[in-house]
């Protein structure tokens, strides 16, 4: 496995308005790896992702891409050019746009020609055949799960090197989660690095190589996913009594 | 020196601004002329004339407020009416309430004066005094039962004069085949004009203020509408209309309450019509029309009434105005029972070679009435 560092955040502090949410977070994403981020509600997982994609500004701390420090105030546009794509919490589809236009928007920042984009779109349709069926329908009228597919497909359309997905399995049928996990693993083998926030801890840890556990704005554990899956403390806290 | 203050609420900005500015010229000329001669003589004491202007932005309710403010805040002694029949009527409620004499210098519709008000006077004769002579002349030129089309702006004065026109025409045997109104602020008249054209009338009569009529004239040409006679009221008297309509102004007929070519010998401050025109041209480098002259004569009439009353007491001045029977550069002035002048014979004129030419009455006639408007 290639172990060059792709994206790294050090001592990150960030928040909204008067409140601070992240209190000094360190996180390293390696090239070619799937990293998962788990933690209770409100821990700050989504906020951390927003920091990594430039939606939320760092209040202090540093962001490094392939070892080079990024200037403060990096915007989503500039990070997207580097290859960082973010599938946000709540999907945030363009409700009145068709599925196909939503996908095209994913490729907005790319300087690729039409055929390349067409080819990538076909790939998305192979991963999510349901999207192909619904390609002319407005994003806002899709069913919950279809929206999730469209959002992930849109993220893929930017041909990212690092894809960050918030709430991966939210609202998806078990079959689809299965298929999605397989697809992501396939994409990963082709070189895509992933950061995944996932409530279903078992799925998260089974999917990823490395995992971080977050609690109230701090990283409390991190390590190999397989190891964490066996850690009784983790099981107790995030799998509930039944699994302990 | 003591001053006597006159309030002049005018639409200095907005749609009616061009005409308001004319009136301001008229008032200013009178004030200047009067002050040059030492001011108004009130019982042996000379008072300087001061005019307080305020702009009501072509917005009638503001005209009412403005008039009231001039009385209560600016402490004016007398007022000129607001511009046009609508606003003058609205503002007259204030002057009546406060008992201040006011002379409307641009309101001719009888509906303004039939409210039973005591303090309101007007320098324009009723609208029928324009439409009757017009109809008389045209009658001699067109075969009986000729078709007339009337198009009027939906506004007090234009509607009122359109009604008079309809009456004048019908009573002289014309056949009124089209009589409609257009909304204020209409920019495209093509639908109405297409209907006019379809009727193929011999006489087209259109009323409105200057901007409406310039537009109507252009769009008539666009639709290739022609007629034996085209009459427009009230704009052709203005140089601005002739300039804007260009060739289209030719042979447009109209009537107005005054014309610089008239020859009256008055006892007012300006003396004769000729003198007035000369004084005006000296100050403004242009020839006055009725809008300016009416403003000047309103001032001159106030001066005559005040001097006759020998006091600034509003009620006494009002009585003096009501009793006035004088000759002025504007013509003979007597106010009828409603306060509106009834002593004038308004001239009928036609634009010929870019100039307004009087065709009636006989004593002032400058040229013959020409047929055909292309």
């Amino acid at each position: 496995m290639n172990t060059t560092t792709l994206l790294e955040v050090r001592a990150a502090q960030a928040g909204y308005g008067q409140v601070n949410v992240l209190w000094g977070v360190d996180l390293v994403l390696k090239q070619g790896e799937i990293t998962s981020l788990i933690g209770s509600n409100g821990a700050g997982k989504s906020t951390l992702m927003r920091v990594l994609s430039g939606l939320v500004a760092l209040r202090s701390g540093e962001l490094h891409w392939e070892g080079i420090r990024l200037e403060a105030g990096a915007t989503p546009a500039s990070l997207l050019v580097l290859g960082i794509a973010h599938v946000p919490e709540g999907r945030r589809l363009f409700g009145a746009m068709s599925v196909e236009d939503n996908l095209l928007m994913g490729a907005y920042a790319r300087k690729a020609d039409r055929t390349t984009i067409r080819r990538d779109m076909d790939r998305v349709y192979t991963v999510f055949p349901k999207l192909f069926e619904r390609r002319a329908q407005a994003g806002g009228t899709l069913s919950g799960g279809e929206q999730q597919m469209c959002a992930i497909g849109r993220g893929l359309m930017s041909a990212p090197r690092l894809l960050m997905i918030d709430e991966l399995s939210l609202g998806l049928s078990p079959l689809l989660v299965d298929q999605l996990v397989q697809s992501l693993q396939l994409l990963n083998r082709e070189g895509l690095s992933l950061l995944v926030v996932e409530q279903d801890v078992v799925t998260a840890l089974e999917l990823s190589n490395t995992a971080y556990v977050m609690d109230t704005g701090r990283i409390t554990h991190h390590g190999h996913s397989a190891a964490l899956l066996k850690d009784p403390a983790i099981r107790e806290a995030y799998l509930g009594s039944a699994y302990a | 020196q003591d001053v006597v203050r006159f309030g002049a609420p005018l639409p200095l900005t907005g749609a009616l601004a061009p005409e308001a500015l004319k009136q301001r010229q008229g008032y200013d000329l009178w004030a200047e002329e009067s002050n040059k001669k030492g001011g108004i003589n009130v019982g042996g004491k000379k008072y300087r004339v001061e005019i307080v202007y305020s702009d009501y932005q072509s917005n009638t309710p503001r005209a009412v407020q403005t008039a009231e403010r001039q009385i209560t805040q600016d402490k004016v002694d007398f007022l000129f009416g607001a511009f046009g029949s609508g606003a003058a009527k609205a503002a007259s409620t204030v002057t009546e309430r406060y008992g201040r004499p006011s002379i409307a210098a641009a309101a001719s519709s009888e509906q303004v004066y039939d409210q039973g008000y005591k303090y309101l006077f007007g320098t324009f004769t009723p609208n029928s005094t324009l439409t009757n002579p017009l109809a008389d002349i045209v009658k001699t030129k067109l075969p009986p039962n000729s078709k007339v089309a009337i198009l009027a702006r939906n506004d007090l004065f234009p509607l009122s004069i359109a009604q008079e026109m309809e009456k004048s025409a019908k009573s002289r045997g014309f056949n009124v085949v089209f009589s409609e109104k257009y909304a204020i602020n209409t920019m495209d008249h093509s639908a109405a004009l297409a209907q006019v054209k379809a009727q193929n009338p011999q006489w087209i009569f259109m009323t409105g203020y200057i901007n409406d009529l310039v537009l109507l004239r252009k769009q008539m040409a666009d639709q290739r509408i022609t007629a034996e006679v085209v009459t427009m009221i009230a704009a052709p008297a203005y140089k601005e209309f002739i300039d804007a309509a260009g060739q289209g102004a030719e042979n447009i007929s109209s009537a107005s309450w005054w014309h610089p070519a008239l020859r009256y010998k008055g006892t007012d401050i300006f003396g004769s019509t000729e003198n007035y025109v000369k004084a005006f041209e000296a100050k403004y480098k242009s020839t006055p029309d009725y809008a300016q002259a009416s403003a000047s004569v309103a001032g001159a009439l106030f001066q005559m009434a005040i001097e006759k009353a020998g006091t600034l007491d509003p009620a006494k001045v009002r009585d003096a105005l009501a009793a006035l029977d004088v000759m002025t550069f504007w013509g003979p002035v007597r106010f009828g029972p409603t306060g509106q002048i009834n002593s004038l014979q308004p001239p009928v004129f036609q634009i010929q070679k870019g100039k307004p030419v009087i065709v009636f009455p006989a004593e002032a006639k400058q040229g013959e009435f020409q047929m055909g408007v292309k």
């Binding site: 509600n41 409100g42 009228t141 899709l142 919950g144 799960g145 998806l172 079959l175 409530q199 509930g240 | -």
Partner: protein, 254 residues
């Protein structure tokens, strides 16, 4: 068992899409019905048709023997049909207490604003939001909003409660808390319809499960039977899940 709700071949089209096709279903008092099916199968649409958000393009909806097919949402709400939204819909500027109070106030007649607030407090305690009752709803985390959504539905004193993915986005521990709540409600005799993609919730809380696919009902039965139904496995669960379920069932039998 008394029948509270009956769908008689209900259909609904969206343009060219047949979202629901001849769905017939009976719901009995005290049941906890699981409604599962692939994404886009029509589950949410079915709830929308029952609660009057969408009109059925065909068929009838009977509630307690009365035809409510063309009722408006607010009328359905007042009759005792309460639902949570798949995508939570709080009143963002109202505080948590008033969110719940509003539900009590408008779904029942004869309550005053003060009375509704009083009633709301109890429901907030029940779902565990008592401590945040004066925070604006906009400031809540997702899990809290889902619980708020539940409290609102409960405040309506519903006869049937529709829960549209109340557990999505919650972590395993939080899901367990929510399941406890649902079970408590079921024990109190409330009729509940649960839409859920978490099979654990479905299997552990529902007394009966129906499966929708492409707008049609394809299975109806006890949870353990349904999850083993090959049709359901193929359309919805996938082999991996089926295996898990198998293990699970065996574990339980042992």
């Amino acid at each position: 068992m008394t029948e509270v709700l009956a769908l008689e071949s209900v259909s609904r089209r969206f343009g060219g899409l047949q979202a629901l096709q001849d769905v017939s279903l009976r719901l009995h008092k005290g049941e906890v019905l699981g409604l599962i099916g692939p994404n886009g199968a029509g589950k949410t649409t079915l709830i929308n048709v029952i609660t009057g958000v969408h009109r059925a393009s065909g068929g009838r909806v009977m509630f307690q023997g009365e035809d409510i097919t063309s009722r408006k949402p607010y009328q359905a709400a007042r009759m005792g049909l309460a639902r949570t939204f798949q995508i939570v819909q709080p009143f963002p500027e109202l505080n948590v207490l008033d969110n719940v109070a509003s539900a009590a106030l408008f779904s029942q007649s004869g309550l005053t604003v003060a009375g509704a607030r009083k009633a709301a407090e109890g429901h907030l305690e029940f779902v565990g939001l008592g401590s945040v009752s004066d925070r604006p709803a906009a400031s809540l985390t997702l899990a809290m909003r889902k619980r708020l959504e539940l409290a609102k539905a409960l405040a309506m004193k519903p006869k049937i409660l529709f829960l549209d993915e109340v557990n999505a986005g919650l972590n395993t521990a939080e899901v367990e808390q929510a399941m406890t709540l649902i079970r408590t409600l079921a024990e109190r005799g409330l009729t509940i319809v649960v839409i859920e993609h978490l099979m654990k919730v479905v299997v552990d809380t529902c007394s009966r499960v129906v499966v929708l696919q492409n707008g049609r009902l394809i299975a109806d039965g006890l949870p353990h039977d349904v999850v083993r139904d090959p049709l359901v496995v193929e359309a919805y669960l996938g082999q991996k899940y089926a295996k898990l379920a198998q293990q699970f069932a065996q574990g339980e039998q042992r």
